[in-house]
């Protein structure tokens, strides 16, 4: 991920922002009721569950909405039903089941008492979707045990002439080898944020792009914060006095990360250390290199190792790491109150 300025350099008081994209393929264990529903979908059948009041719920629910008792009686319902209500999607998002204008529709299948939410394809024509309309399932070419084995619904009387473009198929469900019932479905989730820095942090980041370390001093307690926050978390007052700090300081405390993990950006082992810059009153986390991990000490004097100037941008990563200066360690008493 690279820090990208959202505004041209001529407007320096605009806050900086950058994309923050995260995603994970969650493994959803579906339990006995939805497991049988998913398994039936892979066989192009739709199951509902009979509630304690006799109503048939589709999709099936594991516990009765009225009595909270576990439900077990699964029954087949038809692949055709009636639109209860609908909402038009003029601009489908990536990943939505139909990739041309379509309706999200609540559909009560024949044999069911509750409505299923799914996509209704009318060939892109909103005038062809209506409440009370009879619709039927268009099955996916290759069912995998997922709600999208129902690719979408189409009007029963006058379906579109062509097949709708669809999103890529979902990952295949996992099946317990013993009984053949699906127990886990995979649900990829992706979140795409625009992360914005505060104005104060943006000034600090722009200073970093010039190779300077900019903090702020609280007018009340006189503590120096880097990165600056715009307000003192202890006194609750605005902080406006800017302080330029040197690129030297000490390690207050640290750990040696030996464990690899998903999404890790630095190859272990590495030393993650709290660096307290000279003149600052709060440490920040950074990397210590330039000596064996086993030689890093609390109180060790360090200096920033900057990347080549042409690589600088608005990020603390302009400092590749901190490394020992070779000076005598700071006495414990000088930083004990920073632990």
């Amino acid at each position: 991920m690279t820090a990208v300025e959202s505004e041209p350099a001529e407007t320096p008081e605009q806050p900086l922002s950058a994309p923050l994209d995260i995603g994970f393929d969650y493994t959803r264990s579906v339990g006995p009721v939805l497991g049988r529903f998913m398994t039936a979908l892979a066989q192009r059948r739709i199951l509902g569950v009979r509630g304690s009041d006799g109503r048939v719920h589709v999709p099936p629910v594991e516990y009765d909405p009225g009595t909270a008792e576990p439900l077990e009686e699964l029954v087949d319902v038809e692949a055709e039903g009636t639109v209860v209500s609908w909402s038009w999607v003029a601009d489908p998002l990536p990943g939505q089941p139909v990739q041309r204008p379509f309706a999200w529709a609540l559909i009560r299948l024949d044999g069911a008492d509750t409505a299923l939410l799914h996509a209704l394809d009318t060939g892109g024509d909103p005038a062809s979707a209506r409440t009370g309309q009879r619709v039927r399932v268009r099955w996916a070419d290759e069912p995998v045990g997922h709600i999208r084995d129902i690719a979408y619904f189409v009007p029963a009387a006058d379906p579109p002439a062509d097949a709708a473009p669809t999103a890529p198929a979902p990952p295949a469900a996992k099946t317990d080898a013993d009984d053949g019932v699906i127990d886990t479905v995979i649900t990829p989730v992706h979140l795409n944020y625009t992360h914005s820095a505060s104005l104060e942090e943006s000034r600090y980041l722009r200073a970093l792009a010039d190779g300077r370390l900019l903090g702020q001093r609280c007018p009340g307690c006189h503590k120096v914060y880097i990165p600056p926050r715009g307000a003192c978390p202890t006194c609750g007052v605005p902080t406006t006095d800017e302080v330029e700090l040197p690129d030297t300081g000490i390690v207050t405390t640290f750990c040696i990360v030996n464990v690899p993990f998903l999404g890790q950006r630095i190859t272990p082992p590495y030393v993650g250390a709290y660096i307290l810059l000279d003149g600052a009153d709060i440490p920040f986390l950074h990397l210590v290199l330039g000596c064996e991990a086993s030689e890093v000490r609390m109180g060790m004097r360090v200096r920033a190792a900057w990347r080549p100037r042409e690589e600088w941008s608005t990020t603390l990563e302009n400092i590749a790491h901190f490394e020992p200066t070779g000076e005598a360690d700071a006495p414990y008493a000088s930083y004990a109150h920073h632990l």
């Binding site: 991920m1 820090a3 900086l16 922002s17 950058a18 923050l20 994970f24 969650y26 493994t27 264990s29 579906v30 339990g31 006995p32 009721v33 594991e62 516990y63 009765d64 909405p65 009595t67 909270a68 576990p70 127990d183 649900t187 992360h195 820095a197 980041l205 503590k223 120096v224 914060y225 202890t234 207050t252 405390t253 640290f254 750990c255 040696i256 990360v257 030996n258 464990v259 993990f261 998903l262 999404g263 890790q264 950006r265 630095i266 993650g272 009153d281 709060i282 920040f284 986390l285 950074h286 991990a293 609390m298 990020t315 603390l316 990563e317 400092i319 004990a336 109150h337 920073h338 632990l339």
Partner: protein
């Protein structure tokens, strides 16, 4: 304003495992809820409100899971609240449920907390790299390890004390049929021989990643009087502080000290070490036992490790800590705090089975979360509060 008396009527929990793929998320919760309701001898019509807790939504990728859990929790037509205070949430959820009874609003409240860690990857979820920062984050272990190092430096504790905690808690876990890790053969030496993950924290000094849930039914004084062996709630406390500020004490946070002071004041306890019979303390990494012993006031600053080293926190000691095996034996994150609270209750109810502390009349349940910024705790007793 005086609080109404309240008591734990019953507790229930799942068998905690690394993967509970045999159940859905609602099914996992129901396993704990059904057991708590049987233990409390109540039916759905007895329950006035439901309070559910879990850790960050990124852990399972379900936003607002309380909505789709309402059927399973029998919450339709009743008040349903969700509580969220990171890893301490199991504790704060129990306290919110208790407050609904103590305030006189409800007679019986069902409370449940859970995590299904197998659906995601907590290490990933806790290491999301925010733009403009250095990507040095390494999960909860990476966050807490530097502060453990600070504790070692500050207290001068010998290195083997962490291993003593881990071996004790895992052996205790072997006595608990619900525990995820049940390691009766573990030794201080084998812990010390395990891999260093986040130096100074070793593999065997680290909590597992568990699927599990915990539930309790909390009732008012009349319900407590009718129960055969209730755990009366004598004191409750919650405190919070920011994750970072200049001069913050990360080893012995002020919020934890303040919460403990309030807890002892409410309960009229002047010497916690001699007046409390058992403690279930949130110890996800071994060294947090001595750290929290000091933070809670069971030991003077820098001296918590001496209680551990002397065996006083083992079963049979002055203050057995985590007789159930604790977070080091089972860690369904959102439920871990409620497990501490309910295990404390089980001790004074006399229902702790093979890890029962003989004659336990007073016990503490404790949870913390975030970057040691949320603290919640309660003190429960076999006798009714004065």
């Amino acid at each position: 304003m005086t609080k109404q008396r309240a008591a734990v009527l019953g507790t229930g929990q799942t068998h905690h495992r690394s993967k509970r793929t045999d159940v859905s998320m609602p099914g996992l919760l129901r396993e704990a809820v059904d057991r708590a309701m049987v233990d409390a001898d109540v039916t759905w019509s007895d329950i006035d409100a439901v309070v559910v807790g879990k850790a960050p939504d990124l852990f399972e990728g379900v936003m607002m899971p309380e909505l789709f859990l309402a059927d399973a929790l029998g919450a339709n037509g009743k008040p349903l609240l969700r509580v969220h205070t990171a890893g301490s949430v199991g504790g704060s959820t129990a306290l919110v449920a208790a407050s609904l009874v103590q305030s006189g609003v409800h007679r019986r409240v069902l409370t449940v907390a859970f995590e299904k860690q197998s659906e995601s990857n907590a290490m990933w979820a806790l290491s999301i790299r925010v733009p403009f920062t250095m990507p040095v984050g390494a999960g909860a272990g990476g966050y807490f390890a530097p502060h453990v190092r600070s504790y070692l430096r500050r207290s001068g504790a010998p290195e083997h004390v962490g291993a003593i905690v881990a071996a004790k808690d895992r052996r205790n876990g072997a006595l608990n049929p619900h525990a995820h890790l049940r390691q009766s053969e573990i030794t201080v030496e084998s812990v010390q021989a395990s891999q260093m993950l986040w130096d100074p924290i070793r593999y065997d000094e680290t909590c597992p990643s568990s699927d599990g849930a915990c539930a309790m039914v909390i009732g008012d004084e009349r319900a407590g009087d009718d129960a055969p062996a209730p755990a009366w709630i004598h004191a409750t406390a919650m405190r919070t502080e920011p994750t970072t500020f200049a001069g913050r004490d990360q080893v012995n946070p002020q919020a934890g000290r303040d919460a403990a002071t309030e807890l002892w004041r409410q309960a009229g306890i002047t010497d916690p070490l001699s007046q409390v019979d058992a403690a279930e303390i949130y110890v996800p990494f071994s060294w947090f036992e001595p750290m929290w012993l000091e933070n809670l006031g069971f030991a003077a600053d820098g001296e918590g490790w001496k209680l551990t080293e002397a065996g006083e926190t083992a079963l049979g000691g002055t203050l057995p800590v985590n007789p159930s095996g604790g977070v080091l034996s089972s860690n369904p994150i959102g439920a871990s705090g409620m497990l501490r609270f309910s295990e404390a209750a089980k001790q004074v109810m006399g229902r702790a089975g093979d890890y029962q502390v003989d004659g336990a009349r007073t016990a503490v349940g404790h949870a913390y979360g975030g970057g040691s910024q949320y603290f919640s705790m309660w003190l429960v007793g076999a006798g009714k509060p004065a």
